[in-house]
């Protein structure tokens, strides 16, 4: 029995032979016990190999689909009740604003009476979201713009409803129980402000929009990081993206912009442009500098959320332009932004 003939037996076993060859093999098998035995061996080997255990640890397949999904999830596609790792960026961005704002304002406006740290300026959390926006926030983005964010193995499961103590009465440090957002945000080493209640500036309406009013405890950590009371600034009625109105004093425009709560890459882009416009029109160099950095931050978030390459280009160009400025006062901060790991391609 030649090797070639044996090979034909293997193909015969798989029913891969053309009819005439098949008939020839069958004729031979009926007359040749040796070949018949070999064919039987091949079949047993197949079956035995297929019966070798190929089972993962118990429970593996229960979480597998969710783990795949979390790698595909765009930042705004999470649905309520589900863990929402993709929120990290929005929450981190909000937290960034939260932490930076008080510092900035303190620098910019030495008069303590004006500082937004007055606890009296707080209002309870959970202002009712607009339903339409909630709908928008849930809509997944097309695959081409999806971020690629591998999720560590074994990590997952619903994040415990965080201690969403009303910030109005519990001025906890901004990053206290907020592991997820904190983890990502930790790379932004902005010193924490001494008056932690100010963190509430970062209330993320996008997060809140997906939770029914009064049921915010159900929202996972990343959202709760952003969820909180906000100061009753004039900005609170200023729509998702604060517009710079020329009728208002610049300070008011600054506050409105910093209170802006973009919900999408488009809105972050708009906020970026508005910060740039503010910077261009701002005579105060310190404020213009801060506005320029915020424009860069907003542009970066637009990129991270939307995954659009042109946003990345714009972000890098803006950051590079800033770093070239002689009057730039926050170069290390922008350099860190540039050095942040980007998503895998």
């Amino acid at each position: 029995m030649s090797g070639h003939e044996r090979e034909r037996l293997s193909a015969y076993l798989d029913r891969e032979l053309p009819p005439d060859e098949r008939a020839a093999v069958e004729a031979h098998l009926s007359a040749c016990p040796e070949c018949a035995a070999f064919l039987a061996e091949l079949a047993v080997v197949d079956e035995a190999a297929a019966s070798l255990p190929a089972e993962p640890p118990e429970g593996y397949f229960e979480s597998f689909p969710a783990r795949v999904r979390s790698r595909l999830e765009p930042p705004q596609a999470a649905s309520p009740g589900r863990r929402v790792p993709a929120w990290t960026w929005a929450a981190a961005a909000a937290l960034l604003l939260a932490v930076v704002t008080p510092l900035t304002l303190r620098q910019l406006r030495p008069a303590p009476a004006e500082a937004p740290s007055a606890p009296a300026a707080l209002q309870p959390p959970g202002s009712a979201p607009e339903p339409k926006r909630a709908e928008e926030a849930r809509r997944p983005e097309p695959p081409s713009t999806l971020p690629f964010r591998p999720v560590p193995r074994g990590k997952g499961g619903p994040v415990p409803a965080a201690a969403t103590a009303p910030a109005a009465t519990a001025p906890v440090p901004p990053a206290a129980p907020r592991e997820k957002a904190e983890a990502d945000f930790a790379r932004e080493p902005v010193p924490l402000p001494p008056a932690p209640a100010q963190a509430v500036v970062a209330r993320d309406e996008t997060a809140a929009a997906r939770a029914p009013a009064g049921n915010l405890a159900d929202v996972a950590t990343a959202e709760s990081a952003a969820e909180s009371a906000e100061p009753a600034l004039s900005a609170k009625k200023a729509g998702p993206v604060g517009g710079v109105s020329e009728e208002r004093p610049p300070e008011d425009a600054f506050r409105r912009l910093e209170a802006a709560r973009p919900r999408s890459a488009v809105e972050w882009r708009r906020l970026r442009d508005e910060w740039n416009a503010f910077a261009a029109a701002q005579p105060d160099r310190l404020r213009a500098d801060e506005a320029r950095v915020r424009a860069i931050v907003a542009g970066r978030v637009a990129w991270l959320i939307g995954g659009d390459e042109s946003d990345e280009d714009a972000f890098r160009r803006a950051a590079a332009a800033y770093l070239r400025r002689e009057d730039a006062r926050q170069k290390p901060r922008v350099e860190r932004l540039l050095a942040e790991p980007r998503r895998a391609p």
């Binding site: 090979e7 070798l52 190929a54 397949f61």
Partner: protein, 203 residues
């Protein structure tokens, strides 16, 4: 590996086509349903080729992620299972062929896996024979193992395997034969007349 409820080349059915069409629009929930449906197959292919759970997990996840990203190129109406298994098989072979994997070495057996019940072959192959067979499978070249796995576990046709691995059907046939021959030779002392009798009487 449940390869019972799986018609390898059958029409995927309107349900799956619908789910995939939704997924193509960006519907992650629809895609998650598809993932749930094929995860065992994909993981099984990966594990049988890479032979380590952690790596198989990586490969299986990556196979689905890549299939999602390539959904635009997937021809709706065709079965999704073979397509994603093929992605997994290629990723798995590439991994085994990678310098990193060679450095780490392949696990010899399924030691890290929980022992499964003996199954229908318990009567034919005792534990020792299974261990020997397992080692023999591990000793195949990754290319041979990939062909062998896609045929025996996935029940793909030669054409499907050829398409999956980018080789000719003739190469599939010869690799498959060499793989089987090696395994049969290794296992011969344990098969004896039992296998012959079993087969001669069967279909």
């Amino acid at each position: 590996m449940g390869h019972s409820a799986r018609p390898p080349s059958a029409d995927p059915g309107p349900d799956e086509t619908f789910l995939l069409a939704r997924a193509r629009q960006g519907d992650l929930a629809a895609f998650e349903t598809v993932v749930r449906r094929y995860q065992r197959r994909v993981y099984g292919v990966a594990l049988r080729i890479v032979r380590a759970h952690d790596v198989a997990d990586d490969v299986a996840q990556e196979a689905f992620v890549r299939s999602w990203r390539s959904l635009d190129r997937f021809e709706l109406g065709r079965p999704f299972g073979p397509w994603v298994c093929r992605i997994a098989a290629n990723l798995a072979v590439n991994h085994v062929r990678s310098p990193r994997a060679r450095e780490e070495g392949l696990p010899e057996g399924h030691a890290e896996m929980p022992s499964a019940d003996p199954g229908p072959l318990g009567a034919v192959l005792d534990a020792e024979a299974r261990r020997v067979l397992d080692e023999a499978v591990a000793a195949l070249s990754p290319e041979q193992r990939a062909v062998f796995v896609l045929r025996t576990a996935e029940e793909m046709s030669y054409d499907e395997i050829a398409g999956a691995l980018g080789i000719s059907p003739g190469t599939v046939m010869s690799r498959l034969f060499r793989a089987r021959e090696r395994l049969a030779t290794t296992l011969a002392p344990y098969l004896g007349a039992a296998g012959g009798r079993r087969r001669a009487g069967g279909a």
